[in-house]
């Protein structure tokens, strides 16, 4: 040839992409990109999509223009921005809002004690470095755990009956809450976001407390527990499932109450059902062979208290802030888990004392909020979620 050369590798670059195109089926398609955030896969995009965007641009971009766009700066610290963010991005904002409002310490006495502190600050001001108690949790003794092993054997009899639901409850409690109240991604997306924010915050806290307390799992006490599911590697007390089930149950009940919708106001029955569900989920972990009843007591207590804490940050109208102490060493190991001792659904209240009078194993204190704890992003989410439970006005 007169040109002396030809395109020997002309298509090689594209061939590389084309080769990858075969994988496109594995990636989330554009239509599912919104969900990718939920799945933790934000940013994943198929090579085929990308190649299309490149070739399309090449086809139409034209010569560079000298443009001076009439663009203004974004609004600083403005909740209005939240609605333009994808849910997974918002989730990080909410987690930050909650996560930075608590701090932590631990002490190792006869049994371990975990201290969760609240760090309150006035809006738009640097935080005051002053921590106030939020939750204090002291582990029961090893003897108490040994005594509670009797429950593991008794509850194991229910495995055949509850196998399916125990497996289904390995993940989020939300689908089960959705069978009691009308939750649906299309109908109540912000409620789901709020519950997920609460669940993340619950796990953020209980995992840290479990780490301090380092309570051994039933499987380490006896070779005859033979749990029907794999025992998680984190500590036994507090029960994460109890914490999460109760935080979600109470948050949801608070939403329904706040909505003002008549059927949610007339009595405590919706809240009672949420609590029965949460209790069932917690007990099912004992049936499965991975938790002591005391773990559920501690978890429920933590979840209920944290739900109030979140609510305080969400709702500018909240008047009270709740703190609580769980002293596991006072819990009678002969007793089973009984959520009624920790919460009254009718009035959405935790009792001041739980357990025998004179020697309660759990106490809560309510103080008037100084209204320092408002979080604008959480208040935005709360408002959206409450609206999802209000009846549409008739035309």
């Amino acid at each position: 040839m007169t040109n002396g050369g030809g395109p020997e590798a002309g298509l090689a670059g594209l061939a590389g992409l084309a080769g990858l195109a075969g994988l496109a089926g594995l990636g989330p398609s554009a239509g599912l990109a919104g969900l990718a955030g939920l799945a933790g896969l934000a940013g994943a995009q198929s090579p085929l999509d990308t190649e299309s965007l490149i070739t399309t641009r090449d086809g139409i971009v034209g010569a560079p223009l000298n443009l001076d766009p009439n663009i203004v700066q974004g609004c600083c610290e403005d909740p209005a921005n939240l609605k333009r963010l994808s849910p997974d991005v918002r989730a990080n904002v909410f987690m930050f809002e909650l996560g930075t409002r608590v701090t932590y310490s631990a002490s190792c006495g006869e049994t371990a004690t975990a201290y969760l502190w609240r760090v309150d600050s006035k809006p738009n001001q640097p935080p005051k470095v002053q921590a106030r108690p939020l939750v204090e949790m002291t582990a029961p003794t090893i003897q108490q755990f040994k005594d509670q092993m009797a429950y593991l054997s008794g509850y194991a009899d229910l495995r055949q009956d509850r196998g399916a639901e125990i497996l289904a409850q390995l993940a989020s409690p939300v689908p089960f809450l959705a069978s009691i109240s009308f939750i649906d991604p299309a109908r109540t997306p912000f409620t789901i976001e709020l519950l997920n924010a609460a669940l993340r915050f619950a796990s953020y806290n209980h995992m840290r407390i479990k780490y301090t307390i380092a309570a051994k799992r039933p499987i380490e006490f006896s070779p005859q527990v033979q749990p029907m599911i794999q025992t998680p590697t984190h500590g036994s007390l507090p029960s994460g499932h109890a914490t999460e089930a109760f935080i979600a149950a109470r948050m949801l009940w608070k939403l329904l109450r706040a909505s003002g919708t008549p059927q949610y106001q007339q009595d405590g029955v919706w809240g009672e059902m949420f609590m029965r569900l949460a209790s069932r989920i917690a007990i099912n972990r004992t049936v499965a062979g991975v938790h002591f009843p005391m773990d559920s007591v501690a978890g429920a207590f933590l979840g209920l208290t944290l739900a109030d804490f979140i609510h305080e940050h969400c709702d500018p109208a909240t008047q009270d802030s709740t703190s609580g102490k769980f002293d596991g060493t006072r819990f009678d190991a002969a007793d089973d888990f009984d959520w009624h001792q920790l919460y009254g659904a009718q009035d959405d209240l935790q009792p001041k004392k739980s357990g025998p009078s004179g020697n309660p194993w759990a106490t809560t204190t309510q103080k008037q909020s100084k209204n320092e704890v408002h979080s604008a992003p959480l208040a935005w989410l709360w408002g959206k979620a409450v609206a999802e439970w209000q009846d549409m006005p008739c035309e």
Binding site: G154, L158, D161, D267, V269, E272, D336, Q346
Partner: protein, 699 residues
């Protein structure tokens, strides 16, 4: 198959050997075997601390003759007195009363029961029937009988009481309530619950009256919802920490389903003239390899419930009738209406009972029709009379004993004619010597260590049965701890005719030994596997009736529950509602005529009722354990309470509610179903079409 030893001799790998024994001293050789056997299987918690092996405690029935309870106790030596407890359900009057014969519930040690079995006649004991092993702390030894009269309960005219004896009755279910915190259950006794320790409290179990149940309901109700899990924990029915298991923790429980059919009404349409009494039976004693008989518990339940029923008075001063339902059955027993259970039932429901109050009892006919647990052995009168051989399959992994009973015909001769001679052969071919119709005749199978693992023995069942019985008893075939096990596999029972005539028969039953749904693995049902038993028809469907002229000794006919053979109870079979055919499992008669009776008490059940909705919809719907839930369950168990409900409703209108009445009702209702009527031995008077959705009579 046998393995040849080095010298060519037969060598049996099992190392088992049979040995003939004659021990005329015991009342029952089979009982002797069971008592001895426990020593090798029972673990510590069931024995008293720091005590020897004599202190396993049992519930039992003692058949006393020509004495009183007080007389019997006084005759026991001082040491033995400490090893027996008479339940406080017997009043001081009951204890003083002298009788000809009576079955008494006792709690006693192995040692004491063995002594009674060894030389019972010294104390007026004719027989001992074992119940189950019971932990000593579950007996309130301080309980004392009183003569205190129970207060009267006033009810409207037209009231009929329903009394249910069953396991796992979730009695707080709203179908048994007439308000959020008001029960229709006037009395519940919880036999599996640890008793209190005060003298005024029951010897075993707990007792709750309506006021106590209502208080529990109120204490566990918030936001109009009853926390049922907590209710049963506080009532003492469930205790996960000490493994007091109750089927009421499960979604489906037998007793709840049954009581729902017998007496359930919507809470907001609850009648005020259908009060309920219930007794909750123990569900399992896991450490008891003997399988455990429910009889002592049933006797106590009947004692308690009939006493409670007597408290009721209608406005007109009369005592309202009570219809009892007991949806339990077994396979064994003499099947002639003279068994312990039949006698106890007749004590309360027979013709000689207190006429102040009409009491009826409804029982299921049993589910053993296809279980291959029954054989009828008949022999030609002359010629060569070959033995009949039964292939008896002892299941592997059976953690409880297995028992085969061969009941001889009745004879007035003394000594009894040697009707037949029986030999047993182990699965590896080791045959026992003969066991004859002679007191004390028995063959024991010993293992390598010289421990007895099986016994073939003759016993005489005293009057009113008055018949000989040869029993093959096997140890469990599996145990999680080292234990003397019986070999599993096909055993052979060879029955050689001797003095038996052509019009007589040896009736054989394998005792029931299976694990019910929801319970831990325990028993596994053994069965006969003779090749000439035809299981399926030519279309491959299970054959529900014996083929005419069958040569097989294994029979469906005669599998009627061993509980349901007495003269008085109303016995109910199960049918498939949509095609009117009998359910395959529903057991038929006939029974054997009792001593001196020209005909048997029954040729089958008295009636049949819905046990299945259709071939594809097994069972019927009734209450689940938790309020608002419905579950499906089948069996003659669910047919019986339907008839109990019907009987209660009709007795409210003045019907007699007895067997004759039921048979007439059944014949009338049979016309609702496709004809022809199934055989009487299976369906009784006819098929009943009973709705349980009737308008509440007194609502």
């Amino acid at each position: 198959m046998r393995i040849k030893g080095k010298n060519g001799s037969d060598k049996r790998p099992s190392g088992l050997r049979w040995q003939g024994v004659t021990d005329e001293d015991v009342l029952s050789s089979a009982l002797d075997f069971r008592l001895g056997q426990q020593e090798n299987f029972v673990v510590q918690p069931y024995r008293e601390k720091d005590d020897n092996s004599g202190s396993i405690w049992w519930s039992a029935l003692v058949d006393l003759r020509q004495t009183s309870i007080a007389g019997f106790l006084e005759s026991l030596d001082g040491d033995l007195r400490a090893e027996i407890h008479i339940p406080s359900d017997y009043t001081r009057e009951d204890i003083k009363r002298t009788f000809d014969d009576q079955l008494i519930v006792v709690f006693a040690t192995t040692n004491l029961l063995a002594a009674l079995n060894q030389s019972g006649d010294r104390w007026g004991v004719a027989a001992v029937t074992l119940g189950t092993i019971i932990k000593p702390e579950f007996i309130n030894q301080d309980a004392k009988g009183t003569n205190k009269a129970l207060p009267i309960i006033k009810v409207p005219n037209g009231t009929v009481i329903t009394a249910v004896i069953d396991d796992g009755i979730a009695f707080a279910n709203d179908v048994f309530r007439d308000g959020l915190t008001s029960t229709r259950v006037y009395y519940a006794t919880l036999l599996p619950t640890m008793p209190g320790t005060a003298p005024g409290l029951a010897s075993v179990g707990m007792e709750l009256d309506k006021a106590q149940i209502d208080a529990l309901l109120a204490a566990n109700t918030s936001s109009m919802l009853l926390d049922e899990d907590r209710f049963y924990q506080q009532a003492g029915l469930i205790d996960y920490a000490d493994s007091t298991f109750s089927p009421t923790s499960l979604r489906r429980s037998h007793g709840t389903h049954i009581m729902g059919l017998a007496a359930g009404y919507p809470m907001d349409a609850a009648p005020n003239d259908r009060p309920i009494l219930c007794a909750i039976l123990p569900t399992r004693v896991t450490e008891d390899v003997s399988g455990g008989s429910i009889l002592p518990s049933l006797a106590l339940a009947l004692l308690r419930l009939t006493r409670q029923a007597a408290r009721f008075r209608c406005k007109d001063g009369s005592r309202p009738p009570a219809v009892f339902n007991f949806s339990y059955g077994n396979f064994g027993g003499p099947h002639d209406g003279t068994s312990d259970i039949a006698r106890i039932i007749e004590d309360y429901f027979g013709p000689d009972c207190d006429t102040n109050q009409e009491l009826r009892l409804v029982l299921p006919s049993g589910n053993g029709n296809l279980s291959r647990t029954h054989a009828t052995l008949e022999f030609e009168s002359g010629g060569s009379r070959p033995p009949i051989v039964l292939d008896f399959v002892a299941m592997p992994d059976d953690r409880t004993v297995s028992e085969v009973e061969l009941w001889m015909p009745y004879s007035a001769s003394d000594p009894l004619p040697n009707f037949v001679t029986v030999r047993a052969t182990t699965p590896d071919g080791l045959q026992s010597g003969p066991v004859d119709i002679a007191a004390g005749s028995h063959q024991s199978l010993f293992n390598d260590d010289g421990i007895e693992v099986a016994r073939l023995s003759f016993d005489f069942a005293p009057l009113p049965t008055g018949r000989g019985v040869i029993t093959l008893s096997l140890n469990p075939t599996a145990s999680l701890t080292p234990a003397p096990l019986a070999p599993s596999g096909t055993w052979q029972i060879e029955v050689t005719p001797d003095a038996i005539t052509a019009d007589q028969a040896v009736q054989v039953w394998i005792e029931r030994d299976d694990t019910l749904p929801g319970f831990r693995t325990g028993g596994r049902q053994s069965y006969f596997n003779n090749g000439d038993y035809q299981r399926f028809n030519r279309f491959g469907a299970p054959l529900a009736v014996d083929p005419p002229g069958t040569d097989s000794p294994i029979r469906r006919a005669g599998t009627l529950s061993g509980f349901a053979c007495g003269p008085s109870p109303l016995v109910v079979g199960a049918l498939v509602q949509n095609d009117g055919k009998m359910s395959n499992y529903s057991s038929p008669g006939p029974t054997t005529p009792a001593r001196d009776e020209p005909v048997a008490y029954r040729s089958g059940p008295d009636a049949s009722a819905r046990g299945d909705d259709s071939l594809v919809l097994d069972g019927v719907i009734s209450a689940g354990s938790r309020s608002g839930s419905m579950v499906r369950q089948n069996g003659t168990s669910v047919a019986a309470p339907r008839v109990a409900r019907f009987t209660a409703n009709e007795m409210a209108g003045g019907a007699a509610g007895d067997r004759a009445w039921l048979q007439v009702q059944a014949a009338l209702q049979d016309t609702d179903f496709p004809q022809p009527k199934p055989a009487q031995s299976r369906t009784g008077g006819g098929r009943m079409n009973i709705s349980v959705n009737e308008i509440s009579p007194g609502a």
